[in-house]
């Protein structure tokens, strides 16, 4: 395993990605202390006399939004939202996907087939439409949005885990151990699961990228995390109509989303390279 870590750290892109993630986590966790203002405070002088937002200046480092709130503070607190959703939604997706994939791959038979058919069904479902339908209608809250995203994202993980589990479960030593009478929980937790950990780790990281993108998209459409909770996609949604006049309201949060997704993608990809024993070289 240490070889894998060495490989990982030698990858410059992965290091860059890790740095960005660290910065985002720092920003999000430290938001209450780092933010110059309360992200909810609507400043009267945060808007021009005619109600237009202010561009970046000495008082508001990244400008203000359409309600006169400080953009920089909202970005910092928005990092929290993205991190929470990323971890919770992706975590839920990984748990559900791993569980179902594992059961299907290990138990096989009619239960396994049924689970995989269900997975096929969910794959055929237009993902964004499903997320929109769920998010637009149900009681909006951070946790519901996280759950909606998890409902959409678990499928790919389930398939990958299933494939791996089936190939693992048919290996000779498993068959042999079975023949020797070992009980299945031991088989599962000692012999199968550890081999799946690399995959789970990789998908957990890559999954955060997709989750963050999906959350930002839902917020952009107005149906993600609801105001006044600051969220990067939500800031863009509110500011869309002013986009040509106040582009900073779209670009700063948009780039934040991009950087977060990018860094998790880089790290996840590097992890995959590092952990994959059948690596065929970069």
């Amino acid at each position: 395993m240490s070889d894998a870590w060495k490989k990982f750290f030698r990858n410059r892109l992965a290091l860059a990605g890790s740095l960005v993630i660290a910065l985002i986590v720092l920003g999000g966790v430290g938001a209450p202390w780092l933010a110059p203002y309360d992200p909810h405070e609507q400043f009267f002088d945060g808007l021009t006399l005619e109600g237009a937002p202010l561009p970046p200046d000495a008082k508001f480092w990244l400008g203000t939004d359409l309600l006169g709130r400080d953009l920089f503070s909202r970005l910092l607190f928005g990092a929290r939202t993205s991190l929470i959703i990323g971890i919770v939604a992706n975590g839920a997706a990984v748990v559900i996907g791993t569980f179902l994939g594992l059961v299907a791959g290990f138990v096989r038979g009619w239960l396994g087939a049924a689970i995989m058919r269900f997975t096929d069904l969910m794959m055929a479902f237009p993902a964004l439409l499903l997320a929109i339908a769920l998010a637009a209608i149900f009681n909006p809250s951070l946790w519901i949005v996280a759950l909606v995203i998890a409902m959409v994202n678990w499928v790919q993980i389930a398939r990958v885990i299933y494939t791996q589990t089936t190939s693992l479960a048919t290996r000779e030593y498993i068959e042999a151990t079975r023949a020797l009478g070992a009980n299945w929980p031991r088989l599962l937790f000692v012999h199968v699961l550890p081999h799946l950990l690399p995959t789970i780790l990789v998908w957990s990281t890559l999954g955060i990228a997709t989750t963050v993108l999906l959350e930002a998209t839902l917020s952009f459409l107005g149906i993600g995390v609801r105001p006044p909770t600051p969220s990067w996609g939500g800031i863009i949604f509110e500011s869309q109509s002013y986009f040509l006049d106040a582009p900073w309201l779209v670009f700063f949060p948009g780039i934040a989303v991009l950087l977060m997704a990018l860094s998790f993608n880089l790290v996840g990809d590097a992890l995959r390279d590092a952990l994959d024993p059948t690596q065929r070289g970069r």
Binding site: E41, E50, I137, Q240, L244, D245
Partner: protein
């Protein structure tokens, strides 16, 4: 002698032709209007959104209409009408030259059949309820019979309406699209597709409808009103984002911004001297308000509701929407008859509000929920209101949902506070009773109703019914006074916190001309299609 006479005749003929040519030159030309969304339907019995409402008015005629640019009722298809002294019988004589676009003259039978169609449940018309004053409505609306016994055809050009009670708004009802005559044979031929291939009797005919892209109206050459319409053709283009449409207007590619001036560019456009004369400002029959559900504590306490009224900084909210509205003091909008110019309403006074809360037993405020619809700018306005409430100690948790979900919560009575933006009441017709019944009257305070504050004051209901029974046109001012008193009474009880009245700004290209009032006609949005014309 003969030569002199023939010369005179020739001169007169030439003069007549020249005048005719000059008049013909004033009419004609094409106008392009842009919209973001496609039109849902052009069936007068079904169309009920602000976009198709005026288009339908140009494709069809009603018994009554309004003088262009005003809210004064005038007869349209009806050449003349009579109201019985007790106000329960209306007799109309139809214009003999009025014809449908397929060439057939409009008769009293058509008038009767069309309203029966609107009331018939199979049509699924949202406007069936407007005709409830007509005798026989219950039987027809429940599907027991196809016919409305209260509409009587006296002869091919005379029709009489028998009402079960005097209704001062009845003439307004006959101006609603739902009452417009439609040709029975075309409706039966096209069935549910009549909405996409309407055959009317109005100033324009439908020439083309490419779904999602374009609708083209073309002048009706056989229209019975002379010199109307003034354009040869109107093209409606869809899928045009308001910002894009604005740029195209500047380039001269389009003539009217159907969705109005995009909010972000509003200030820039308004202050640009090049646009002088191209932007017309007018009022809308609209109020934006916060409803408070009197059945949910603590909004059952009038002091709490009054405190909310005093806590909202209306000037700031108007600023947030770039001054495209004026603060509101009462439920009725300023251009509605019955509006009280002298009523000041509740002042902006957070300290006074806090004191009221203390008196009501909430020195530390309380927690509640504020619903709003999730299309911009409503979440922003809701957040501004939320901040104002927080200043006096009320912690309002925001719930921004799809419009349908908010409407459901309001109709179910589960929402304590609702910001009405995007779903706010716009008057169906310019009469104060339309602003009362469904949204503040006891009749609307039911499951599925639109009286989201569930306010039911039986005394006011009775006063309202009395006001509506005053059908004598000579007593118009008296009736308005009765309604004025009713709405002021409502403000004393404060089930609503009126926030602003939206203004309307219509921008048009230099080549489109007409009276200012036609560009901000209260009933025809965005413009009065029949009246505006193009400089040739």
């Amino acid at each position: 002698m003969k030569t002199a006479r023939s010369m005179l005749l020739a001169i007169v003929a030439a003069a007549v032709m020249a005048t005719a040519a000059a008049t013909a030159q004033a009419a004609g030309g094409k106008m392009i209007v842009t919209f973001k969304d496609d039109v849902s339907t052009l069936d007068p019995a079904i169309g009920y959104d602000w976009q198709n409402w005026s288009m339908i008015k140009s494709l069809f005629d009603g018994l009554m209409d309004y003088k262009p640019g005003t809210t004064d009722l005038v007869p349209e298809l009806a050449q003349s009408y009579e109201i019985s002294p007790d106000g329960t019988q209306y007799t109309f004589k139809l214009h003999p030259e009025a014809k449908f676009h397929n060439g057939r003259p409009i008769t009293a039978d058509d008038v009767k059949w069309s309203i029966e169609r609107a009331v018939n449940p199979k049509t699924q018309s949202p406007g069936a309820g407007f005709f409830s004053a007509i005798k026989g409505f219950e039987e027809a609306n429940s599907g027991k019979t196809d016919k409305l016994s209260g509409i009587v055809v006296l002869d091919p050009h005379t029709v009489r309406f028998d009402l079960s009670r005097p209704d001062a708004t009845f003439l307004h009802v006959l101006q609603l699209n739902f009452s417009f005559p439609v040709p029975k044979e075309e409706v039966e031929r096209l069935g549910a597709d009549f909405g996409k291939s309407p055959v009317g009797s109005g100033a324009y005919k439908l020439k083309e409808w490419t779904l999602g892209q374009r609708i083209v109206f073309v002048r009706n050459p056989d229209y019975w009103k002379k010199d109307t319409p003034k354009l040869d053709e109107i093209e409606f283009q869809f899928g045009q984002d308001p910002s894009v449409a604005l740029l195209r207007l500047k380039k001269g590619e389009v003539d009217i911004l159907g969705d109005g001036i995009p909010p972000a560019r509003f200030l820039e456009v308004k202050n640009d001297p090049a646009n002088k004369g191209l932007i017309v400002q007018g009022n809308q029959l609209q109020t934006g308000y916060v409803t408070m559900n009197v059945k949910i504590k603590p909004f059952d306490n009038v002091k709490v509701r009054q405190a909310v009224n005093m806590a909202i900084n209306k000037e700031r909210i108007v600023k947030i929407i770039n001054n495209r509205a004026v603060p509101a003091t009462q439920p009725l909008p300023p251009s509605m008859p019955g509006y009280d110019k002298n009523y000041k309403g509740y002042p902006y006074d957070p300290e006074g509000a806090k004191k009221l809360l203390k008196d009501a037993g909430f020195p530390n405020g309380f927690e509640t929920e504020l619903y709003a619809n999730n299309t911009d700018p409503n979440p922003r306005i809701a957040q501004a209101i939320q901040q104002d409430l927080a200043t006096i100690g009320i912690k309002a948790n925001l719930k921004t949902l799809a419009q349908s979900a908010v409407i459901q919560a309001g109709g179910d009575g589960t929402a304590p506070m609702i910001w009405s933006g995007g779903m706010a009441w716009i008057a169906d017709f310019p009469d104060p009773s339309d602003f009362y019944g469904p949204i503040l009257g006891c009749g609307g305070a039911v499951q599925g109703g639109w009286n989201w504050s569930w306010y039911c004051n039986k005394d006011l209901d009775k006063l309202g019914a009395e006001a509506d029974a005053v059908t004598d046109p000579a007593k118009k001012a008296e009736r308005e006074e009765m309604w004025r008193k009713i709405f002021i009474k409502i403000m004393d009880d404060a089930p609503w916190a009126p926030v602003f009245n939206e203004l309307r700004f219509t921008m048009h290209s230099p080549r489109v001309k007409g009276e200012d009032s036609w560009f901000v006609d209260p009933v025809h949005i965005p413009v009065h299609y029949d009246e505006v014309y193009v400089a040739q």
